[in-house]
Symmetry: C2
Subunit: 440 residues, 2 copies
């Protein structure tokens, strides 16, 4: 039996009173769901506006001394609609007036934006009959604008130590000076993770409008399968390669604390979603691969030099060139007298001439430096790939059947992924080939 | 029609008067074979002694003021046998006396060893009716003992400019002071390459007792196929990975000059052997792969660190540790938050603790450093591997059928090879699997 679950609900899960009802029934299904971190109300339909966007607009207009009445009226209507629909007792009109005055009086951009979550939290606490904890009291930022991780953990855990069911609005906190500050967009996920760590939750549930992460990009693969379980490490590999998943900062606190994250769908509360944990479960039915993700837009700097291999330090010197130019390298496959460095074309291009000139100097007259671009990199992530002797064979056979040339292969530093480089225009075909080989 | 061929004959091709006859008939087959670089007479049968070894023994005994009469008698017999068998006119007995006196009078080790080629060259020049050029006149060493490449080219090309058919004994040259110096063992191959470059030969023929290089180690694969054509680059990849081929120094002069090397078998003069050239011929019947070679005894230092990927310069710092310890790295596969460095266990082990401690310091508390050893690396070398989309698929399918786990894959820096890492005890099985997939 789980002892304590922290839930975070995204904007679409809180867009209407009807969505609020779904949230309450989800909480009632499992009484150990004792903490809730709300976003601000999101879109109700495709062309709807998000409350947070409206708040940014109000702030922007107020700053230019223009009227923001029309925009604020939309915000007011959203909250009043919900409050009325749920017959709430909280004086939300009074709170809305305070926000409106704050914006008019020139409160900061972060303060204005944060009111979406603040007001939403007030409504939710009233609806659930739970305590409301203003995030400005528990989430601490340093004066340089970065999160004060230690102080946040100390404050939040002490404020929530009594175990009382509590709503903590997402997205913001405050500096010690009292000034409200927000995380980057989507920062409610971070608040949820910090709360989960503070109460040492058994699970951090992140409720959204999808039933978990998908094994591949739905713009490429039609209705890809959902990932049922994945480790934080695997997710980071997929995320780095372009899969749209949780922000890294939203996983870090719970990952380090060993708390699993469960991505759930508010509209399909019985769907188990995606469970992200430190270690993979020992399921027999685990699919061979967990997900596929990739990126276009890489360049390859190929360096050939006679007798390179006998020269200790050559590879290091090449990497130094990229480091000096501030360009991180993705991969560095090596041959005997050759190595190549794979980097983002976007980062390389502004410094291309300088980087090539410096490497040419290192190479001297006994070698060549060539640059090719338009490479895509695709990571196939899965558990124990290294222990499964057939994985590489299946992957390359599938690519071969699709007549795709492999420009680069990198596997070995982790047991999690096989990374292949292909021409940009083979990008989608590669993902199709791999997906259909391993998934369906 | 070829204009000029330089031939080099190994010790087994010159071990008896019968072998000398084969050499002459090979030269007669193709009149453009106008230069010959001989080794010293090698073994006539498995337990026989090589003349060079006997010369080293004589020198060593003489140095200890011991009698080397018995050993020198064996040397004398070898040369006299050949001279008698071929009815040569040259006064080889006189030359042998000079060598014997030189050894007795305390001549240097290199001078003593070089007399094997010197005497052999004298016999051969006499037998062929060709000019004899003492290598001490054409091959120039610097006072620090390294080859003076520029001076050698200048001297040799001027000495051989008249186009007269000439024998140049292999293995040695002289410093400008006149002192004779030898290359490392097998250095006659280098002499041949230097002569080929000096006369701008069309082909450098290296005559041995095998019909070219083998596609795999015959100790692992029973009667492997011969490589019919290979590029210098491919050969260097195979050679680096443990295939026993020409010494790097013996390819460098001809490779740079664009002169192909042809490995031939003195005992099968009609076999085309292995042709090594700068660019591969556009044959249709080229096999997919050129050769397979590998090494046991690698260690993998696996470095994991949270958010490594966002830290520009981390990979460079890790390589710096190896550079400072004087350990060349073979491969560095990278994941998102992990990289691993593959190095020779033999080079790593004496510095293991120091290297690991330094990397642990780089990693800090947010990561781990683990070392695993007993990895074997196998390079499958071939032309246009990258342009052949099925190669990787076939390779990994073959390994999969043999139930071999792939610990590492590296491909991309050259189009020449796919490199796989497997457990040491899968080394031979991997070579078998790949060989039988691609060759027979």
């Amino acid at each position: 039996m789980l002892e304590c679950i922290v839930t975070k609900f995204g904007g679409s899960s809180l867009s209407t009173d009807e969505q609020f009802r779904k949230v309450r029934s989800i909480l009632e299904l499992e009484p150990t769901r004792r903490y809730l971190v709300p976003s601000a109300p999101g879109k109700r339909f495709a062309k709807d506006e998000k409350v947070t966007d409206l708040l940014y607009m109000c702030h922007s207009l107020a700053k230019k001394k223009k009227s923001f009445e029309a925009e604020f009226a939309k915000i007011r209507e959203r909250y009043l609609d919900i409050a009325r629909g749920l017959h709430l007792k909280v004086d939300i009109e009074e709170k809305l007036r305070e926000v409106e005055e704050g914006i008019a009086s020139g409160k900061g951009r972060d303060w204005c934006a944060s009111r979406g979550e603040y007001l939403c939290g007030l409504l939710m606490a009233d609806y659930l009959g739970w305590r409301f904890l203003d995030a400005a009291e528990g989430i601490v930022f340093k004066e340089d604008g970065t999160l004060d991780d230690d102080k946040t953990q100390e404050k939040l855990s002490s404020l929530l130590a009594d175990g009382e069911s509590t709503v903590v609005p997402g997205f913001y906190g405050a500096r010690e000076s009292g000034e409200v500050q927000t995380f980057s967009r989507g920062g409610s996920d971070i608040t949820g993770a910090l709360v989960a760590r503070a109460v040492n939750a058994d699970v951090y549930e992140n409720w959204t409008d999808v039933s978990g992460f998908l094994m591949a990009d739905p713009r490429i693969i039609d209705s890809p399968a959902e990932i049922s379980s994945i480790t934080y490490k695997e997710l980071r590999e997929l995320s780095h390669m372009g899969a749209s998943v949780l922000h890294e900062d939203a996983m870090f606190p719970v990952r380090r604390a060993g708390i699993p994250t469960n991505i759930r769908n508010t509209n399909k509360p019985y769907h188990p979603g995606t469970m992200i944990s430190k270690n993979a479960p020992n399921e027999i039915s685990v699919p061979t691969i967990t997900g596929i993700a990739g990126h276009r837009g890489y360049s390859v700097i190929n360096v050939e030099k006679s007798m390179m291999n006998s020269e200790v330090g050559f590879g290091r010197k090449v990497l130094q060139v990229f480091e000096d130019a501030g360009i991180p390298f993705e991969h560095m496959p090596t041959g005997i007298d050759s190595l190549c460095v794979v980097v983002s074309s976007e980062l390389l291009n502004p410094r291309l001439d300088e980087v090539v000139a410096r490497i040419e100097k290192l190479v001297g007259t006994n070698g060549t430096v060539t640059v090719s671009d338009r490479m895509a990199i695709i990571a196939t992530v899965g558990r124990g790939m290294v222990h499964n002797c057939g994985t590489a064979a299946r992957l390359f056979s599938a690519m071969s059947r699709a007549r795709i040339n492999v420009r680069m292969i990198d596997q070995g530093s982790s047991e999690l992924s096989i990374i292949v480089g292909v021409n940009d225009n083979d990008f989608e075909a590669t993902i199709h080939a791999i997906y259909h080989e391993f998934v369906e």
